[in-house]
C-alpha cells in the first residue's frame, strides 16, 4: 500500500482518506451504496476502497435507496457500522422513511438497547451545473427529525475530521457533503490527518467586529469572500462555520453575536421553513439585548431548485450577502 503525498488535497480526497482509515481501523465499518465499488462513486469519494478492502467491505448495492438504508439498519443491529452513500441529495428521498421511522428512532424506541451507528453520506447543494434533482439542499428535513445528527464540512481538514467522528459516533449521522466543494483544495497533509473533531462544535472561520455571518457547508467560502469584500465598505465581518446543524452550538454562535451585535444567516436552502429561521430565532431568544438589528437571512429562494443556466440567480452570492449586511440598521449607531 503506497500513500501518495497530496498537498494540497481536495475535499473529495480527504473524504476518501477518512473512509479508508475508518475501514482499516475497524472491521465493523462497511461502505455501501450505488456505484461505490468498482467505479469508486460518481464523485470518486470511494475510489480504490473496494480494491483495497474487498467487495464485502465496500459494496455496490442494487439501485434502491430505501433498500440500501434499510439493510444498513439490519447490519447495524448485528454489530456492523455501515457507511451508506446516497448518490445525490434528491436521490436520498426514497430512503427517508427508513431514516425518519427507523434510523432516527431505534435507540429511543428500544430505550437505548439498539443503537444504530450508521453514517449516511449525502452530496448536497448546487453550484455544479447539475440538471434537475441533483442540487437540492435537504438539510431542513433532516434537522427536523429528532434522533439524527446532521453535520456538514466546509474545509478539507473538517471533511476528514468530521467524517471520522461521524463513523465513530454511536448515533446515526447524516453527513452532508457540499458537492461544489469536492474539488476545493487546501494545504492539508494526508500523511498527518487532522485530529477527529467532536461533533457539535461550530468554529469561527474569520474573526471580525462589525457583524456575524452564520453559515455552513457550501456557503462558508462565499461568506469568507463577502467578508473580504466588506472591508471596502468599512465592515469587519466575523464568519461562523456551524459544521454541525444538530447538535447546534448555541454557545459559539451566541458568543460571536454578543460581540458583534449583528447577524446574518446564510445558506442555500430555501428561507421559508429553512434552517435560518431556527437559527435566527435561537439567536434572538438568547442575545436580544445585544442585538442592534433584527437577525437577517440570506437564503435560496423558496422555489424548486432552478435549471443550471439559472442557478446563479438563486444561490446566495457576495452581493446579496453584502446587501443584507447593509440593512443591519447601521444608521442607528451614529
Amino acid at each position: 500500500m503506497t500513500t501518495v503525498a497530496l498537498k494540497p488535497a481536495t475535499m473529495a480526497q480527504a473524504l476518501t482518506r477518512a473512509l479508508r482509515d475508518a475501514l482499516a481501523d475497524d472491521p465493523a465499518v462497511h461502505v455501501m451504496g450505488e456505484d461505490v465499488g468498482t467505479l469508486g462513486g460518481v464523485f470518486r469519494v470511494t475510489d480504490g476502497l473496494a480494491q483495497e478492502f474487498g467487495e464485502d467491505r465496500c459494496t455496490d448495492t442494487p439501485l434502491a435507496e430505501a433498500g440500501i438504508l434499510g439493510t444498513a439498519v439490519g447490519m447495524a443491529m448485528y454489530g456492523l457500522r455501515p457507511v451508506v452513500e446516497m448518490q445525490f441529495d434528491a436521490f436520498a428521498y426514497p430512503a427517508f422513511e427508513q431514516l425518519a421511522s427507523h434510523v432516527a428512532k431505534m435507540r429511543n424506541r428500544t430505550r437505548g438497547k439498539t443503537p444504530l451507528p450508521i453514517t449516511v453520506r449525502i452530496p448536497y447543494g448546487g453550484g455544479i451545473g447539475g440538471v434537475e434533482h441533483h442540487s437540492d439542499s435537504s438539510e431542513a428535513y433532516y434537522m427536523a427529525t429528532p434522533g439524527l445528527h446532521v453535520v456538514t464540512p466546509a474545509t478539507v481538514a473538517d471533511a476528514y475530521g468530521l467524517l471520522r467522528a461521524a463513523i465513530a459516533s454511536d448515533d446515526p449521522v447524516v453527513f452532508l457533503e457540499p458537492k461544489r466543494l469536492y474539488w476545493s483544495k487546501d494545504s492539508w497533509n494526508p500523511e498527518e490527518p487532522t485530529a477527529v473533531e467532536p461533533i457539535g462544535r461550530a468554529v469561527v472561520r474569520r474573526a471580525g467586529r462589525s457583524a456575524t455571518l452564520i453559515t455552513y457547508g457550501p456557503s462558508v467560502p462565499v461568506c469568507l469572500e463577502a467578508a473580504e469584500a466588506a472591508r471596502a465598505e468599512g465592515w469587519d465581518l466575523e464568519v461562523v462555520d456551524l459544521r454541525s446543524l444538530v447538535p447546534f452550538d448555541d454557545e459559539t454562535v451566541c458568543a460571536s453575536v454578543r460581540r458583534t451585535g449583528r447577524a446574518v444567516v446564510v445558506h442555500e436552502s430555501g428561507g421559508f421553513g429553512g434552517p435560518g429561521g431556527e437559527i435566527a430565532a435561537r439567536v434572538t431568544e438568547r442575545c436580544f439585548h445585544h442585538l442592534e438589528a433584527p437577525v437577517l437571512r440570506v437564503a435560496g429562494f423558496d422555489i424548486p431548485y432552478p435549471p443550471p443556466m439559472l442557478e446563479r440567480h438563486h444561490l446566495p452570492g457576495v452581493d446579496r450577502i453584502l446587501d443584507a449586511v447593509a440593512r443591519l440598521q447601521w444608521e442607528a449607531e451614529g
Binding site: A64, G67, G70, A72, G74, M75, T110, K113, S169, V246
Partner: protein, 379 residues
Amino acid sequence: MTVMEQRGAYRPSPPPAWQPRTDPAPLLPDAEPYRVLGTEAAAKADPELLGRLYEQLVLGRRYNTQATALTKQGRLAVYPSSTGQEACEVAAALALQDRDWLFPSYRDTLAAVARGVDPVHALTLLRGDWHTGYDPAEHRVAPLSTPLATQLPHAVGLAHAARLKGDDVVALAMVGDGGTSEGDFHEALNFAAVWQAPVVFLVQNNGFAISVPLAKQTAAPSLAHKAVGYGMPGRLVDGNDAAAVHEVLTDAVRHARAGGGPTLVEAVTYRIDAHTNADDATRYRGDAEVEAWRAHDPVLLLERELTGRGLLDEDGVAAVRQSAETMAARLRERMNQDPALDPMDLFAHVYAEPTAQLSEQRELLAAELAAEAEEGTAR
C-alpha cells in the same frame, strides 16, 4: 470469495443469444396451498411437534382474546388481533433456532411471545407506556414494526451481516398481504436474492389490508408468485394448517442456513377479527365469509387431527385449555397494574448523549413536574 463472485457474472448478450438467467420453473409455487392436516402427509408428522403446536395455538388464541378484552377495559390503547392466524404466528417462532432472528410486524405480538418475549413486555407498544418493551437482542426479536414492510430490509441486512461474520444465523421476516404492495417489500426481496442472504419472508395473506381486499392489492396469480421475479423460490401454504406452515418454514430456514438463499412463503389465512378494536369489519365483509373461515379454524383443524388419531383426548384438551386460562389470568393481573412511567425517559434515549437543546427541554419538563407536584401538595 466475495459475494459477487459467488453469484457469478451475469452479462446479458444481444437479443439472439439472450438466455434467461435462471430457469423460473423450480421457483414457481404450487397451484394449491400445501396442506398436511387431514391429508396423508399428516401420518409422517412428528406427534410431539403436533402436540407442541397445539398447545401454542390454544395459548395464542387465548392471548388474542385476552388482549382484545384488555382494549375494551382501557388497558391497551389498541390491539391488532391475530385471531385466526395463530398457526402462522406460532409456526414462525417454532421454525427458528435460538440464534436466529424474527422481524415481526405490528400484528405479530403472538409470534414474539411464542419466541420467548415476556407477554406483558410484548404489549408495551400497544399499551402505550413505551414503544418497544423488550431488548431485541435478548430473544432475537426485532421491534414490532408499525410502518409496513420496512422491517423486511432490516432482516435482510441482519442476515447479510451475520453471514459476513461467518455466523449461520437466519432471519425470518413477517409481513401481511397489504405490505407486499410496499416498495420496501420489493427492495428487501431483491436485496436478499442478489446477496443470497439467509432470509425467509413469511407473508400472511389474511385477505384484507384493513378494509381493502386482496383483489384490489395485486394482479399476481398469488403473492408467492412474486418470488420468481426476484430469482427466489415461492411457496404457497395453507396458513391455518399449523403443521404445514411449520414444515414449509422449517424447510425454508434450513435452505437459507445451508447457503441456498432466501424463500418467499405465502400463507393463506384469514383475519377473523376486525383490523383492530377501532375498526368495523361489517362495513366491508359479510358474516357468511367469516363463518366459512371459522370452519377452517387453525385450532380446530389441529385438534381434529390429534383427537382423530388418538393423540389427544378430552382430558388433554381440558389440560391445555386450563394452562391457557392460567396464562390469561396472569396476563390480566399484570396488565391491570398501572405501568410505571417516568416522563424524564422522554429525553434519555434520543441520543447516546443528550444534546444541549434536549438538556434544556428536560429541565423545562422537570420544572413543570415540580410545579405540578407542589400544586398537588398545596391542594
